[in-house]
Symmetry: D2
């Protein structure tokens, strides 16, 4: 299993009039966790795209347990439970606040595609190799 | 079954550098469909909140089939397949472009809560009554 | 002078915990007004970009008079007070609620650029011609 | 003069199809700089609001010099050139990338208000005192 963690602080812009983080904004929190997980593995996602490989989201699921609020310092844990293979990777996420309360959990199913054609392609060998030691 | 449809046009602000609507923005599209479905039923969601009842999202799931793009005129269909009861309602959604291609489908599980306490409450009787004829 | 108006309804996603529309979101409201003003003139902004001409924002200014709130039906008036010439166009905006109260006013200075080089280019002749009758 | 700096990394969610950070998103970058400047002074903006004092934006101005892009590590410098007095404070900002290129500069005029009445109030004495040594 591969896992990594990041921290980020909730912005005022991300709240809604209920005083909660608007639920649609968790997708961007998950995205930050992915970008930084790649960076920790020595991969820059922007280089992937420059090399003609994109990674759009095929499916997003989020379960909201407790509200996140303005100025909360969130910890976002990213998990890959299975080795990457084919064109798809399932990333799982858990979001906790400073009191270690679970605020949300979810997953995204990512699909590697050619940015030129939009068609699925195999996960780049470089990524497979960097993830292999964790499984 | 209750269903309703709205149309909205994709804003430039909602795109990302892949040239797609950023996946996190679909949550707001679903929200617009809910607000307008309530309005068609004669209910203003803002009045609900003013009366002390909120409706946060307990779960969000979105499956992305084809990208939506800037200036696309989207049709968002909202479906309630089962009568509302207890504190939860499952809304389902389908998003199509002008060529009637299915771009995305998903659901949100909404939880009625007291805005004072944050605790679940039963669906307001007014909403139950207005939905009853559809089931 | 050229002017046009659009209406749009405030989304929950656009509010913040103060119960106001988050001030950063007015930029997208102005953008919708521009896209629709172009459409009324018979120009689709997305076609401009497909033809290699972009129109990034060089300067944004917004004065916030009264808060816009969730579910408000806003009228956004766009004004061009001077004929377009060179590479720049100044769009002015006024936002009013249903009670015709002025909520915000502002401007954006747009710069026509080549999407290939990022360098300023003259306003496309087609746009100049379509605006000419208004001045 | 008071000044402070923060760094933040551009999210994919913040880009648009031109490949730039959408111009409306700079408002949130400025907001993060304000929140952290307050924190460095020993003030938590959320405590201010809890104490009944809000700080909405009265005016926003941003000049965009060069585009910010996905994954750029931005430095946002906040400046207060004059001592805070009355109900208003002018914050100025400069955004640079890792090559120290100036990408954008701007200001926000903030208005201290009572969250109960929405009316302007004097800057809290605590803030005045904490800023005084810098002027």
């Amino acid at each position: 299993m591969y896992s990594s963690e990041i921290q980020l602080r909730v912005r005022y812009a991300e709240t809604d009039q209920m005083g909660y983080v608007y639920h649609g904004n968790y997708a961007a929190y998950f995205e930050v966790a992915r970008t930084e997980a790649f960076r920790q593995l020595g991969i820059r996602y922007k280089d992937l795209e420059a090399d003609g490989v994109g990674m759009p989201v095929g499916e997003l699921r989020t379960c909201f347990r407790r509200p996140a609020r303005y100025d909360d310092l969130l910890t976002i844990k990213l998990l890959l439970r299975q080795p990457a293979e084919g064109a798809r990777v399932l990333f799982e996420y858990e979001i906790r606040n400073e009191a270690q309360e679970l605020l949300a959990e979810g997953h995204t199913l990512m699909v590697f595609v050619s940015t030129a054609t939009g068609r699925p392609v195999s996960i780049p060998a470089d990524i497979v190799a960097k993830l292999a030691p964790y499984f």
